[in-house]
């Protein structure tokens, strides 16, 4: 087995769903611990030092975001949230509290496993080295700031590189609109979503095979963007 056995803490109060999640994760080669309450989750996170925490926001004893904040206080472990669709405000709150990503309920197994992999990957590569992105036929070297497409070199502006870089650091995971703007433009432009939209649009024109149906630069409505490789 090439990867060490990652340990995942599943925080879910529904017995059946918790069981399904554990079965799914164990079948995919992870070790699992389970916690049914927020309080239990914080204790488990301290004692077991998991490699990833999967948190349901609706817990019986306390709000999921409180649990996230409590864990964040002592650990940089990746946290993925399980949340119902349409409650964008809740998702943003969880992300602001320190979560790294979310999976919408009801989810499919491949989707969940992909998110888990992405979150674990980010944890492994926390040294800050910038990757060479391969988006279909386009490859981008963020360190050297060069990009090549099928028909030769592509020109990207410095700001476009910065946006891409920010997404690439969290590849496969969601980056909130606010974080993206703050990191690419600086904190004083945080309200300017219109500028961000047009840069994303231009990036798609350059990188996506079908800009009308983006495959790599995916928008998460009302929350932010995700770079899918």
């Amino acid at each position: 087995m090439t990867r060490a056995m990652f340990m995942i803490l599943v925080v879910e109060d529904d017995e059946v769903l918790g069981g399904v999640l554990a079965t799914l994760l164990e079948a995919s080669g992870y070790r699992c611990e389970r916690a049914a309450t927020g309080e239990r989750a914080i204790i488990e996170a301290r004692s077991h030092r998991p490699d990833l925490v999967l948190v349901d926001l609706g817990l019986p004893d306390r709000d999921g975001t409180q649990v996230i904040r409590a864990i964040r206080a002592f650990s940089p472990v990746p946290i993925v949230v399980l949340s119902a669709r349409t409650l964008e405000a809740e998702k943003i709150r969880a992300l602001d509290a320190g979560a790294d990503d979310y999976v919408m309920k009801p989810f499919s197994s491949p989707e969940l496993l992909a998110r888990v992999r992405a979150a674990l990957r980010r944890n492994v590569r926390s040294d800050g080295a910038l990757p060479v992105l391969q988006l279909g036929t386009v490859s981008i070297d963020l360190a050297k700031r060069t990009a090549t497409g099928a028909d030769g070199p592509l020109h990207l502006t410095p700001l476009e590189y910065r946006v891409l870089e920010c997404l690439a650091r969290n590849v496969g995971m969601i980056v909130t609109q606010k974080d993206l703007i703050t990191q690419a433009w600086g904190p004083e432009r945080a309200a300017d979503s219109r500028g961000l939209r047009s840069y994303i649009k231009m990036l798609r024109q350059k990188l996506e095979p079908d800009p009308g149906r983006p495959r790599y630069l995916v928008t998460e409505a009302g929350v932010g963007y995700r770079l899918c490789v």
């Binding site: 349409t86 609109q177 979503s193 939209r197 994303i200 009308g212 928008t219 409505a221």
Partner: protein
Amino acid sequence: MADTERRDPDELLAAVKREAVLARRGRLKIFFGASAGVGKTYSMLEAARAARADGVDVVVGYVEPHGRAATEGLLEGLERLPNLQVRYRGISRPEFDLDAALQRRPSVLVVDELAHSNILDGEPRPRHAKRWQDIEELLEAGISVWSTVNVQHLESLNDLVAGITGVRQQETIPDRIFDEADEVELIDLPPDELLQRLHSGRVYMPEQVATAVEKFFRKPNLIALRELALRRTADRVDAAARAYPADRTSRPSLARDRFLIAVAPDEQAERLVRLGKRFAAALDAEWMVVSVETPRMLRLGDAARNRRIEILRLAESLGAQTVTLDGPSAAMTLIEYARTRGVTRIVVGAPRRQGWWRLLRRSTSMELVRRGAEYDVSVIARQEPIASPPRQDRVKSREIRWSRYWAALAISGVCTAVAALMFPHFELTNIVMVYLLGATVAALRLGRGPASISAIANVAAFDFFFVNPRFTMAVSDAQYLVTFAVMLMVALTIATLVANVRAQTRVAGARERRTALLYAMSRELAATRTLERLAQVAVRHVAESFSSDAAVLLPDAGGQLHDALGMPTDAAAFQPDLSVARWVHDHGRPAGLGTDTLPAAPAQYLPLAGTDRTLGVLAVRPIQRRRILLPEQQHLLETFAGQVALAIERARLADEAERARVAAETENLRNTLLGSISHDLRTPLAVIAGASSALSDPAIELDAATRARLAGSIEVKAREMSELISNVLDLMRFETGEVRLRRDWETIDDLVGMALGRVGEALRSHHVAVNLPPDLPAVYVDAPLITQVLCNLLENGAKHTPAGTHLTVTAEPGPEGVRVCIDDDGPGLPAGDAARLFDKFQRGQDEGNTGGAGLGLAICRAIVRAHGGDVTAENRPAGGARFAFTLDTTGPPS
């Protein structure tokens, strides 16, 4: 018989309401006497002891601390409320403690001296100016009260008593209090006995009136007062006796007498009004007090005009209807009005004019007698006032403008100069004409005083310069005296006429301005729906019209009053006193500045009275206190408050109707939903349960492919259910108004891209083309919701068209934003169904074989409408259907 016994339903309703109020109200018992010393307090306390012995919860709220042994003895053994110590000019005085009484809530409270005035400048400040107001509040709170009062304290008898005794009583109670008291017990003592008690020192007299005692307690006075007290009590008994049969067979209202009291703003008016009240009460008649604004009256100063309004107020407080009319002649106007209102008797005061003036002009009373032959006209004799208030001099109120007098003299000078030029060529008669012209001009332009001066100067100049002997003031020919007289009279007549017209214009102008102010607000209120906007409009208009700060206070769901516009953040802004507002709201009566309740407050608080309850409170803090206290301004302010109350009531009713409608619709939705869910949820559940049980049953042998297929169908059906539940939840959130748009700048490309990414699977068997121009402006929308709209429309297109159909998404910028269209080349919409498609649980023709509860389009409509647009559905001329909506490109208001 049945007809005569049938009662007017309104009257019945009023009677029922009155009884309902009375049932909750405490009962007022008055121990009534002819003068101090008859033993009212003594009798009251005796009664209190007797009641106490019977087990009634009697508490003594306040009894004058006279230090009389007999009274003190009676107080023993009775529970007494502690008095409130009120400090005033360094002296501490015991006063009745209203709040303590309200807190104690006995069944009967004994409070002496109903007519007492509270110390307004004392510390702590009293809530009401008068004790009878305190007692009204107690009664309203359901506490019964026993109190004492003397006949001279009754408002309507006030002047009569003053006439008898020569002492004017400052402390009065409205007759209403006496008339509406549940019980009045007359404490009678023959004058001889009273005098005897007085001389033996058994009657307490406060020191400040000690000087008046001599004058007051004379036997003829006491006899007259006793007679008054007896008669007033008898009147009450009589009224009660009359009211009793009226309960069974009411008199036809036409047969009732109707009095019209005509008042002018003079010192007689007040007496006339009180007399009118006594007449009306004695004859059980309806009465109205009418004031006529004639041109002559318009010339009077502001003081007189204000007095007129005060008189009308007094009349209102005594229970009269009040009317202000205007017309050229008082008598004619009164008679016309009397005719329209079915008046039976007109009451006027006797004219003031004396001597030769009476011969020149007929007085209003004479005119009434002459013209109003069909009415009884009572002319009330004049009486010189006992202590007449300082009369405002007419002239004093207007300053004398000296420049006008100089101008008048200048006109005479010019006339003389012209006349000197004409003198050699014209006869004296024509020269007089020049002076007459000058006098006319002066009268037209300068007013009466300067016109008279001009006329006199003209006559003098004419005599001096042109009449023989010239350059002397002597007149040789007597006929020129006629010239002088005529010139003077012409000047005065014209000046008077002009002054009349001016005054009338001025008053009409003021009245028109007031009407215009009111109209402006009413019109704006009528166009306003929400309470907050109403409050805004009201506050703005009141603030502008009365140059003051204003606030509208409305009760919230918990009954707490709060500023309808939110509490001001600025510390210097007007912060209404909520405790005063609370009182006004609970009692439905005005308080604060300029009223009898809490007059020390810097602002006035007016109740906004609806048809059956107080809707809120209007608080007004004038920048200039004096201005708002003018009766005319007060009247206007009350009218404003009435208008605001009307508007608020209307808005409330509209709100309630809307809520009822929403509730009905929600109920309807719930029912349909329940029906729909049973079908649309059970089908996928059946698949899931069936497939999963097959998978988990070890007895059933399944190959790998079958297992995969069963698992796959479980997933598909689970997703279907999830979609349905999300749709239902979304719609519910929209229906209950719970959804808040989180708008941001979005590109159409992005929104369409997200929708296509999400719908993916459902569109597998269709061809989708996206055709967006590159330069589309950004739209200001809630991205997840608009993505949902696009998803629903695309899914809808896929569901209702055969496989292989082409779906095209296009967008184009237009004047109202970006119009997004989703077209298909399928069979198109069924005829006549387009609008109903968006209703909840509506589906196209192919009912049954496509899933979903028909909520998709309803959600689309709800979302787009929340964005301020609408979704349309139509058949394209080229075939197929088109769904379209427009998105806003204007940003947030900055």
